[in-house]
Subunit: 346 residues, 2 copies
DNA sequence: CTGTTAGCGCATTCAC
DNA sequence: GTGAATGCGCTAACAG
């Protein structure tokens, strides 16, 4: 573990100046005679030269890494977004600094600060705290931000959003089309825009069909853990089933996301209620696991991987001076029809 | 987006030298009078000073970030490890540079190089290519490595390993204990140590019980995609069911990991074969999703989150000069009994 | 085409 | 206690 060799070392070895070495080794367009170039390249190779990017970065004020902040990587919804981001980052020779915020605004704040101090100037974020105030000072100092999944009100940032409301409508209308009249909506706390939008879409579709909505919502303040969504789906289903007079039991349950839908199906199966024969279930997300359970989950598909790719692409455009800093991309929902919904039996 | 302010700026503002500012702002133990300290702190705050870690890192040759390379973050097995790593990293004020290798040795190589160039000196890796040769030159130059999940033969690196063989035995013996005699083992290519070990454990347990093993292995060279494991589980099950005379059909299937087991269950269900009544299934991993499917998957539990934590802890010990660079930690398997296994009906 | 010089922002000798 | 000077490794003017 001897002292790492620098361009000066190889400059000495080659009897040239370190400037020339730099020009060659950094692929500068600056002209250097072929002879010297070859010689330097050869010597660098022999000496096993490895450039120190810190020096380069400090000098050039560029930094080929982008930060990414999501609630938790364990949720496939987010890991899929991250994969998309990383895929595009790789293509452009960037690397990814990953942060899990656990929906904790304090942590979020700390990470943003740390990222910025490391001179990272690109950030993809799925923020829950939704405080654009948090980001603003950094943006003013040159941080480029693309918000994904969660809409962030703010002028100077890119957004890859999703038509959640339309998704809520789509799923609900689909169920109505299959003959369902009593459709429950089961949801985690309506404390963020995306959830409120899905809920609104559900309400709208129910309203236009003259049906009365039935919403079961978890109370706020539940601490965030890896399997919260799943447990919540189970709990809410229990509540739904027990609170209603049996004549009023819904024939279909629409869940705010796939993980919750898994919990719903689990609770149903546990009680001997067959899906979809006795109860239809629709989720929201379209994560891969939906196809692995029995029955495969019918759901509203969100192109997470694509969202990650787009967000990263947008970000890199900004970082490299192309593209406007306030681009808004809104992706449209699609219904992913699998096998968890049946026509209602009259 | 004006020029960022540096310690020199605030030195000027406070009428002191930048050295003094540095001492105060970097929490140096070096003595500075209380009066100056307060003044500098105040001015720095007013000016919204944000330190540039690049400068600091270049000078101090420290770098509070650790790299992590895994095949793919989309597999909950790995995302859970990462979460563990990140959790401990956060506790020690480190950040995490994430890389997905997609089991591609070339990519792996590229990432290691990039990480090293960024002066990152700590790496947690779940390498598939298993070439310790790849790592050696970097280790010699000061990279600290902890291998997780996949054993890497090499002297100068930490390892958090798992008793795969014992896990294979455990699952197989469990099935035998429940009365099964024809137990098939369904696996992705036996091209890495962990898989070979599980397989060996299976063979051993079958042998000692005087039973004949029945192994279905996928051919090598399949390209890696997110749902490979699942698809493979389906395909291998189909092969298993079709190749055997019906009298020889196994009563239980042991899969090399949970995702594969999901595929197995899926294929079974598709064919109207009920789990566990007509066929028992055991997985390997213990990922969260196992409890969300129907029936909940009985499996060999691997404490992935804990593995991530331990790996990171080990790494940080090394980075900070404590702890030996060749520590080996071997975690023991446990059987996670859920509902996908039934006693065999004679 | 090549070399000299001067920093990027910071921490750290060494004088005082 | 404090400041002046130096350099981490690299690139980018500016001369030649």
């Amino acid at each position: 573990m001897d002292k790492p060799i620098t361009i000066h070392d190889i400059a000495r070895l080659a009897n040239v100046s370190s400037a020339t070495v730099s020009r060659v080794l950094s692929n500068s367009s600056y002209p250097v005679s072929a002879a010297l170039r070859d010689k330097i390249l050869r010597i660098a190779k022999e000496a096993n030269y490895i450039p120190n990017q810190l020096g380069k970065q400090l000098k050039t004020r560029t930094n080929r890494t982008i930060g990414i902040i999501v609630p938790t990587i364990t949720n496939q919804f987010y890991s899929s977004i991250i994969l998309g981001v990383e895929e595009l980052a790789r293509k452009h020779e960037y690397q990814v600094l990953l942060c899990n915020s656990f929906q904790d605004p304090a942590l979020e704040r700390k990470y943003i600060q740390a990222i910025f101090e490391k001179q990272v100037r690109g950030l993809v974020i799925s923020s829950i705290s939704g405080e654009k105030e948090l980001l603003r000072p950094y943006i003013e100092r040159g941080l480029h931000v693309v918000a994904v999944d969660q809409r962030l009100e703010g002028e100077r940032l890119g957004q890859v959003d999703f038509e959640y409301r339309q998704g809520g409508r789509l799923a609900t209308r689909y169920l109505i089309g299959r003959g369902h009249r009593r459709i429950a909506y089961v949801t985690a706390p309506l404390d963020r825009p995306s959830r409120r939008s899905i809920h609104a879409g559900y309400m709208e579709a129910m309203g236009e069909a003259g049906l009365s909505p039935q919403v079961v919502e978890d109370g706020p303040g539940t601490s965030y853990s890896g399997s919260y969504e799943f447990e919540n789906g189970k709990a809410l289903t229990a509540r739904l089933l027990e609170s209603e007079p049996s004549g009023e039991t819904p024939t279909a349950i629409f869940a705010c996301n796939d993980m919750t839908a898994f919990g719903v199906i689990h609770a149903l199966t546990e009680r001997g209620i067959r899906v979809p024969d006795e109860m239809s279930v629709v989720g929201f997300d379209g994560i891969d696991f939906g196809q692995m359970i029995t029955p495969p989950l019918t759901t509203v598909y969100q192109p997470t991987h694509e969202m990650g790719r787009l967000a990263c692409s947008m970000l890199i455009e900004q970082l490299e001076g192309r593209g406007r800093p306030d681009q808004l991309l809104v992706l449209q929902p699609e219904l992913l029809e699998r096998s968890s919904v049946a026509d209602v039996r009259e």
